[in-house]
């Protein structure tokens, strides 16, 4: 155990920044932004420290912090980090400062914005590190509130409705999640993830839930599933996402898509799958269809969007559906007589890679959409531009790299994750992998159509007049992301090395209780 409570620091450093900004009412706009950026960067700095002492060969939780908290409820302040958490903490650390930089020239009070943003960042980190349902759920819900205000106050014309729908929908999902865990607590008397996962693996969790009554095991599973399904989102619970992502300001869209959408997938991997291996296995043939719906219909729906941000939002649905597809395929295959360890390791490893890679590429794409929107005075239709590549070649180049990363071009990061997911899913549920290929096809089609209409052809629309290329601030956001796309495309070991022992141990324990 580390002498320094590193994980608590990771979570609370952004909140300390938020408190600082809240307590110093006479700070200027510039100072607010500087403080926010510094505290937002703390995640990245602390991640570097964590990487220094992180044991790469171990699969279990590290840097664990465990203190008694609310004795009556057996609640512990329990934090821990494994490969899955680490990848997501790193992603948050990368995206959050970039998103703050994206808000640099945004109108409105930078003070409130910085404060809310830091609250959001801390809450997201809390979700990735907490190992007790009690404070995990607090972080989970707390992330919604700043997100709501950020969308509501800084968003586009439809932001009120979009933010409302976003919060109500996800709160609705979370209510079922909460009810589910209340029942779990009633049955087991613990809310500790490690303990619950152990009980899930040996079947005692299911037995105790069954003891509550025949109806409960299914209801609890359905409630928890619903909570995460809305958050990711799983098709068809995704209708809140396109308006929320599209109406949010650029910086928030970046954070929502890159980090918050991962909270749902994280929930699937950390809670639903370990706690309910048998019910998930039973439901997975059906859930695979839903994931396929998201992968294929999400991509085809993106093709019909004329709003660039809505299009990227649908592409996010498509990308995250591959993650869910992999999880469901692994679950469907667990308990089979024939060992499928290699395929499961590929599918799960691919899922973790895809989570990180999607964060990079979708974050960068939203940022580019934000640049286009700012240059065009708030318009962001596909038809509002033309020939941007002539007007702004550097922007075109960087956005192009992000686009090709998103469509899974080999040599860039996106490919490795998608290849592993398809390789894994093919080994487990071949027909699903074949069907999901339609999504790959549609993704190439709509992204290249976007590219053709906005960047190619003669200069037109907003790009007909003077159209500035990227500035230093934009480069500061985009260049690190693009550099990582190349780096991880060529050397995925940098990332897989962090979580491979975890993936290997998952793949080695696929038996059902």
């Amino acid at each position: 155990m580390s002498p320094l409570p590193l994980l608590s620091l990771v979570i609370f450093a952004p909140w300390i920044g938020a408190a600082l900004i809240a307590c110093l009412p006479r700070l200027g706009a510039g100072a607010c932004r500087a403080i926010a950026l510094a505290f937002s960067l703390s995640t990245l700095a602390l991640s570097a420290v964590i990487l220094g002492c992180y044991e790469r060969g171990a699969a279990g939780y590290q840097l664990v912090e465990m203190h008694g908290w609310i004795g009556a409820l057996a609640v512990h302040y329990h934090l821990g980090l494994d490969g899955l958490s680490l990848v997501l903490v790193l992603l948050t650390g990368l995206i959050a400062p970039g998103a703050l930089l994206a808000s640099w020239r945004q109108p409105g009070s930078p003070r409130l914005f910085s404060l809310l943003f830091l609250l959001l960042q801390g809450a997201a980190l809390g979700v990735f590190l907490a190992l007790d349902f009690f404070h995990w759920f607090i972080f989970w819900e707390l992330s919604l509130i700043p997100a709501y205000f950020l969308i509501r106050l800084w968003g586009g014309p439809g932001a009120g409705r979009a933010a409302y729908q976003f919060v109500i929908y996800t709160l609705g999902g979370s209510a079922f999640l909460l009810l589910g865990f209340v029942a779990i607590f009633a049955a087991t008397g613990t809310l500790d993830f490690v303990e619950l996962a152990r009980m899930g693996a040996d079947g005692s969790l299911a037995a105790r839930l069954a003891a509550l009554g025949g109806f409960w095991p299914k209801a609890v599973f359905a409630g928890v599933l619903l909570g995460f399904a809305v958050k990711v989102p799983l098709f068809p619970f995704h209708t809140w996402l396109p308006p929320a992502y599209a109406e949010a300001p650029t910086s928030v869209s970046m954070f929502l898509t890159a980090v918050m959408s991962k909270m749902g997938v994280y929930g699937f991997l950390r809670l639903l799958w370990p706690l309910f291996p048998a019910p998930l296995h039973a439901a997975s043939p059906f859930l695979i269809w839903l994931a396929l719906g998201g992968a294929v219909l999400g991509a085809f729906a993106a093709m019909r969007q004329s709003d660039i941000k809505r299009m990227i939002a649908y592409s996010s649905i498509n990308h995250l559906s591959y993650c869910l597809l992999a999880i469901f395929a692994v679950s469907a295959a667990s308990g089979r007589a024939a060992p499928a360890g290699d395929a499961a390791a590929a599918a799960l490893g691919g899922t973790l890679l895809q989570m990180f890679n999607h964060g990079l590429s979708a974050g960068a794409l939203f940022f580019c959409a934000g640049i286009l929107e700012a240059r065009a005075g708030g318009r962001r239709g596909l038809g509002d531009f033309g020939g941007v590549r002539t007007a702004a070649p550097v922007l075109a180049g960087l956005c192009g790299i992000a686009m090709f990363s998103s469509l899974g071009l080999p040599g860039l990061n996106g490919f490795v994750g998608e290849f592993l997911i398809f390789r894994g899913v093919w080994g487990l549920v071949p027909w699903a992998a074949a069907t999901a290929c339609l999504g790959l096809f549609a993704t190439a089609l709509f992204l290249l159509t976007f590219w053709q209409r906005v960047f190619h052809g003669p200069r037109a629309g907003a790009a007909a007049g003077p159209f500035a290329d990227v500035g230093p601030l934009d480069l500061a956001v985009l260049v690190p992301l693009v550099a990582l796309m190349f780096l991880l495309g060529v050397l995925p070991q940098l990332l897989t090395g962090l979580f491979n022992p975890l993936v290997a141990s998952w793949a080695a324990h696929l038996s059902l209780p």
Binding site: M303, G341, A345, G387, F422, R423, F441, A442, T496, G497
Partner: protein
């Protein structure tokens, strides 16, 4: 020392030049071009060394495998491979690339994105060489897609032209359809063999152990897994190599600058599919031993190749654009190569691939020289009379034309085409590929004669053609070098001295008579003569007088000519089927979102409202005043809450700060306990 362990240098050199070109500002023309050409020259030298090393032991597959990343209990591995096949390919690709890079110095001189052009060219060369030297199907696929990317970038190089932007997208999408098949094949192969290395000391996918497992009749109907996987990989090859029905992008790709057409869409990239088939030939042929199988992978390859060879040649007959004629001729020639693979002679396919690379690059660069001299006039009806004005271009183009047409004995195209026809004749399954090949021979000779007469004979039919003058040496010297290759290369693989065949197969092929089957050769020579004669009779005897005059064939058979000129209406067919289907699907997806899923949520909300309303009614009617007071309290709270929702930022801030402080206190209290 293992020469394969240094093989990475060959693609790395142009990749470095591409990175340098990408970071060079627009003004650094000399730097970008110089780096690209120097890298290509370096790659050529390294390729020659590699070929030399490979020829020392032609039967050995020298490999150098390494771990890419660890995954689960195992690892994903990649590697480099050196044998005569890819040694020859490396030399061909780097030599043709070098010549075309030099040609581009002159051709692209006036383009403002000159720097970028060389960056993309170098990227292409790196990716193509990567395809060639990979010992892993995964690494090959990575390079393969990068080839597709550079092709996309170069077709759309003049992206301000909507037609070029559309052609680039079409090329990427159509080849991607094929590549998805390849991708699935890859994934399947990986799943069933646990490796994607081609050769790995007995554990590779092209080695006996894996092939034996794949060739078992494991699928429905007695099909072998290798048949299905082979056909999926063939999808990728068909997309890249412009095989029917995925050939539609290739003619449109002529929107790119002519050196690009020469390098990528004629000599090298489009041949990647044929190379791939030759590379994985053991896998493609694994099911041959399975006599009971209803279908063999190679049979399909032969069929598609035959259809493509004939169809491309037929369409080329009716094209009026100089580059489009050559593009369809490329489609047709690639069909011949696939046909050769399909009938089991991948060696003949590679022989034709190598000779074709030279004479087709020569033809395209000759066309480029014409286009450069006539200020981008590509319509053969508006050219004419250039033979006297551009003597070097004309002479070298004529060499290329005769090589393509298969004029006997002197030109390389004759020897490689003979070896394909000979292999087709010996194929036991069907005679149809042979008939298609022979029909293609007469058409090829005919359309090339037509093209040459239209462009170079008669008198100039436009102002641009009248003004044309011979291109500078930077353009003509590559033409001369390629013309030499277009003649000499054929002698590497004649039946009397089958050096190429011996090296490729790694076993000495006995030399036979110069003409293997006199009847077949006689027939094909007669067919060539027939094609040349018909071309001369229709277009050379009385050259076209003015640009508006009708084509003699179009005058005689207007419907057939129009059908061929419209490329057999295949683009329209795709728009009606694939295009319609995908827009219908996207409409459906969007409709489901807007109406059904969102509608369901709204319905839920309405139900909630209804419940509230009914509850309210019940309250008013059934419950007493005390309850009313409580509701009044709620209402007041609601009003207070709605005041709080004032959009007053400071108010929110205060509330949040208070909440935050409470939370921190709670946490601290919890910890201190």
């Amino acid at each position: 020392m293992n020469p394969a362990s240094h093989l990475w240098v060959i693609p790395a050199l142009p990749l470095l030049a591409a990175a340098l070109g990408a970071l060079t500002p627009r003004g650094g023309r000399r730097l970008a071009a110089g780096a690209a050409i120097a890298a290509m020259a370096g790659a050529l030298i390294a390729s020659c060394f590699a070929l030399h090393a490979a020829l020392a032991a032609p039967a050995a597959h020298l490999t150098c495998n390494f771990e890419w990343f660890r995954l689960g209990g195992g690892a994903v591995r990649l590697g480099w491979l050196l044998d005569p096949l890819n040694g020859l390919m490396c030399v061909m690709v780097s030599l043709v690339s070098l010549l075309i890079f030099i040609f581009s110095l002159g051709y692209m001189d006036e383009d403002e994105n000159f720097t970028r052009f060389f960056c993309f060219l170098a990227l292409f060369a790196a990716a193509m060489l990567g395809v060639v030297v990979s010992n892993s199907l995964l690494l090959l696929f990575v390079s393969w897609e990068l080839v597709g990317l550079s092709s996309y970038l170069l077709i759309g190089f003049w992206f301000h032209k909507p037609s070029a932007a559309a052609a680039a997208k079409k090329a990427f999408i159509v080849t991607r359809i094929g590549d998805l098949g390849f991708f699935i094949g890859l994934v399947w192969l990986y799943d069933s063999t646990g490796s994607l290395l081609l050769y790995d000391g007995g554990r590779g996918i092209l080695e006996a152990h894996a092939l034996a497992g794949l060739a078992a009749p494991a699928l429905a109907g007695g099909l072998a897994a290798s048949t299905a996987i082979g056909l999926l990989i063939f999808c990728g090859a068909a997309g890249k190599s412009g095989q029917f029905p995925l050939h539609v992008w290739l003619p449109d790709a002529m929107e790119g600058p002519t050196p690009v057409s020469a390098l990528i869409h004629a000599a090298t990239m489009v041949a990647a599919g044929v190379f791939l088939m030759a590379r994985v030939f053991p896998l493609m042929a694994a099911d041959q031993a399975l006599a009971s199988a209803p279908l063999h992978a190679l049979t399909v390859v032969a069929g598609i190749g035959a259809v493509t060879a004939l169809m491309g040649a037929a369409i080329a007959v009716a094209q009026d654009d100089l580059k489009k004629v050559l593009a369809f001729s490329t489609v047709s020639q690639l069909g011949y190569m696939m046909l050769a693979v399909g009938v089991g002679s991948w060696v003949a396919a590679i022989f034709h691939l190598l000779t074709h690379a030279f004479f087709k690059a020569l033809l395209f660069l000759g066309a480029g020289s014409v286009i450069h001299a006539t200020h981008h006039e590509q319509d053969i009806r508006r050219l004419g009379g250039l033979g006297g004005r551009m003597r070097v271009t004309f002479a070298t183009f004529a060499v290329g034309m005769m090589a393509l047409a298969g004029v006997p004995f002197v030109f390389s195209g004759f020897w490689s085409k003979e070896s394909i026809l000979h292999a087709a004749m010996e194929w036991e399954v069907s005679r149809l590929p042979l008939w298609a090949g022979l029909a293609g021979v007469v058409l090829t000779a005919y359309y090339m004669t037509r093209l040459t007469f239209e462009v170079f004979a008669g008198r100039p039919r436009s102002h641009a053609a009248e003004q044309a003058r011979e291109s500078p040496a930077v353009i003509t010297v590559p033409l001369l070098v390629l013309a030499a290759g277009a003649i000499l290369l054929g002698f590497l693989g004649t039946p009397a001295w089958p050096w190429l065949q011996s090296q490729l197969t790694g076993a000495a092929v006995p030399s036979g008579p110069l003409i293997e089957s006199p009847v077949l050769t006689a027939v094909s020579v007669i067919l060539v003569a027939l094609g040349l004669g018909a071309g001369w009779y229709l277009y050379g005897r009385r050259p076209r007088s003015d640009a508006g005059a009708a084509d003699p064939v179009a005058a005689a058979f207007p419907a057939v000519f129009a059908f061929l000129a419209a490329r057999m209406k295949l683009d329209e067919l795709y728009a009606l089927t694939v295009g319609r289907l995908s827009s219908a699907l996207s409409w459906l997806a969007d409709f489901l979102d807007r109406r059904v899923w969102d509608g369901a949520i709204r319905l839920l909300a309405r139900l909630g409202e209804l419940a509230g309303l009914m509850n309210g009614e019940a309250d008013r009617d059934g419950l007493n005043a005390g309850f009313d007071a409580v509701s009044e309290g709620f209402r007041r709270a609601g009003r207070a809450y709605s005041r709080a929702q004032s959009g007053d930022a400071q108010g929110y801030l205060r509330a949040l700060a208070v909440g935050f402080v409470v939370l921190v206190v709670l946490v601290l209290m919890g910890c201190s306990r």
